[in-house]
């Protein structure tokens, strides 16, 4: 054993040349760029690529059609980007409303007294006891599918876990001296909830939203894939994937590969960013 090794124990782990904060910032910038690129192209691309042009159908990827064309001659790049735009919109809206419901439920459970706590706990357990997808399919089916059905379905099914976390957090915060003292100083529960508790929750809500977003997109895609979500003429990723299943066996691999890979890329990048942010915000792991 050489004494040099003792003096420089860090050389073994020299591969980590960035700390977590730097990696989080880079991941956040990269995924934001991906997101904005997809949104920008999806909105900017002309709709002409979606028109059926039977003379160029079933073409493999080429320079003029990067993702190839489908059995009606529609440009797959246009379809994928437009589909992702719709998916991102649905995902963001559903995640935001989910977080809103979770925040309201959590606050009400923590501040609304014992009976409110019981009732909300019961509702939460009810939603958690059934698998996400089953409730989602039911709600979406009842509402008649479409963007509205999927949005409401995802928003209503994704809040329980988060509401529980918020409630636990608030129960702890409620027992701190400064919150208890606030009511002694003559402040109402509503005042305490909005001035003391809600600002404390904001980082949690932001991370929660970023964590729910990939779920929402995947669930939107899967429910559309099952035929209960968006209608077939809309350029949604789920529609593209379910339609291309029929053509996979005939060798048209590009119909499913590029849209699927794009969806995976979006979801994965968001997952990474939210995981980094969660680790950075959480005090126990913030300094690692």
């Amino acid at each position: 054993m050489k004494p040099d090794n003792l003096a420089m124990p860090d050389t073994a782990s020299g591969g980590k040349w960035l700390n977590r904060r730097q990696r989080a910032v880079i991941a956040a910038i990269a995924s934001a760029m991906v997101l904005f690129a997809v949104l920008g192209f999806g909105l900017a691309l002309p709709g002409s690529g979606l028109d059926a042009r039977l003379e160029i159908r079933n073409q493999p990827p080429s320079l003029s059609h990067l993702f190839g064309t489908d059995w009606l001659g529609r440009d797959m790049l246009t379809r994928t980007l437009k589909g992702l735009t719709l998916s991102i919109f649905v995902g963001l809206a559903a995640a935001a409303s989910s977080v809103l419901i979770a925040a309201i439920m959590g606050l009400a459970a923590a501040m609304g007294g014992r009976y409110m706590d019981h009732i909300i706990g019961w509702i939460t357990d009810l939603f958690l006891s059934v698998p996400h997808l089953v409730t989602l399919i039911l709600i979406s089916f009842i509402l008649g599918g479409g963007v509205k059905g999927v949005l409401i379905g995802i928003a209503v099914t994704h809040w329980p876990a988060m509401a529980r976390m918020i409630r636990a957090e608030l129960l702890q915060l409620r027992e701190t001296d400064y919150v208890r003292l606030s009511s002694r100083l003559g402040r109402s529960r509503w005042w305490i909830a909005t001035r003391h508790l809600l600002p404390h929750l904001l980082p949690h809500l932001l991370t929660g939203m970023l964590l729910i977003f990939p779920h929402a997109i995947l669930h939107e895609a899967s429910i559309t894939f099952l035929g209960l979500g968006l209608s077939p003429h809309q350029p949604a990723i789920g529609i593209i994937l379910s339609e291309s299943m029929r053509y996979l066996s005939t060798g048209l691999w590009w119909l499913a590969f590029f849209p699927g890979a794009a969806l995976l890329l979006i979801v994965r990048s968001f997952d990474r960013v939210s995981e980094y942010i969660r680790l950075l915000i959480h005090p126990a792991s913030a300094q690692e």
């Binding site: 400064y178 009511s183 002694r184 100083l185 003559g186 402040r187 109402s188 509503w190």
Partner: protein, 245 residues
């Protein structure tokens, strides 16, 4: 206006009484010292008197005294106050007295904690913290030695003594009838202690405020207080305690 507690009892579990049969009375303008061995429930008594927790027994007399207090207050504010005592049973202590704005009137008994760091919201600036109950006038701030520059800072940017002065300003701005100081200056050095107590005693005398001083510091209590009570001596035969000094 008196703060009367009769037959107070508090237990942690069934048949595990922290204390029972505690009687004490706080008179306005009087400075009372509360002594007792550690773990005897001094802080619990302070929290019960300030309405933070409910006693397991003996709450009736305390409640009655405070209801009387509420009636006094309601007439002072101008008839816009409704007593919602029966509305929520958890807060039978009288803090549910609504102002027209929706908030309640500050509780007439204010408690000062031992650790001011835990008694302030770390995300608020001192200005907001100090004005949470009522806006303190300039005279009070200067009497407590609060530098106006502190109010623009966050709690972690102030020392413990500075924070404790701000907590005092917050409590005293509400013009409480009684102030309970639970080891208020235990973590401060002697000079700061003297400054703070000097200011508090002056305000208590000026406003006719009753003061309950809870401390381990016997010389301090003897110096400050008009009378010293030791409620365990007579109340609880089961607990073997000795009075020193």
């Amino acid at each position: 206006m008196r703060l009367e507690a009769q037959q107070l009892g508090y237990r942690l579990a069934k048949d595990n009484w922290l204390f029972r049969n505690i009687d004490l009375t706080l008179e306005p303008g009087q400075i009372t010292g509360l002594m007792g061995p550690s773990g005897a429930g001094k802080s619990t008594i302070a929290r019960i008197l300030a309405g933070f927790i409910q006693p397991a027994e003996g709450s009736a007399v305390l409640k009655k005294a405070l209801q009387h207090e509420n009636r006094e207050r309601s007439s002072a504010i101008g008839g816009a106050v409704t007593d919602k005592q029966g509305w929520k049973r958890r807060r039978t202590d009288g803090s549910i007295v609504r102002k027209p704005g929706g908030n309640t009137v500050p509780y007439p008994v204010q408690l000062i904690f031992q650790h001011p760091e835990q008694a302030v919201n770390p995300k608020w600036k001192l200005q907001r913290i100090v004005e949470e109950g009522a806006k303190p006038d300039q005279e009070l701030l200067s009497l407590l030695g609060i530098d106006p520059g502190w109010l623009d800072r966050y709690p972690r940017e102030l020392s413990g003594g500075e924070l404790q002065r701000c907590c005092l300003a917050r409590a005293l701005a509400c013009k409480p009838s009684f102030l309970i100081a639970d080891e208020m200056t235990s973590m401060l050095d002697a000079i700061t202690q003297a400054q703070i107590w000097h200011a508090v005693l002056g305000i208590a005398q000026q406003q006719g405020m009753g003061l309950l001083v809870i401390s381990h510091d016997q010389p301090l209590i003897r110096r400050l207080c008009d009378r010293v009570i030791y409620p365990w001596e007579t109340a609880n035969e089961n607990k073997k305690v000795t009075v020193r000094g």
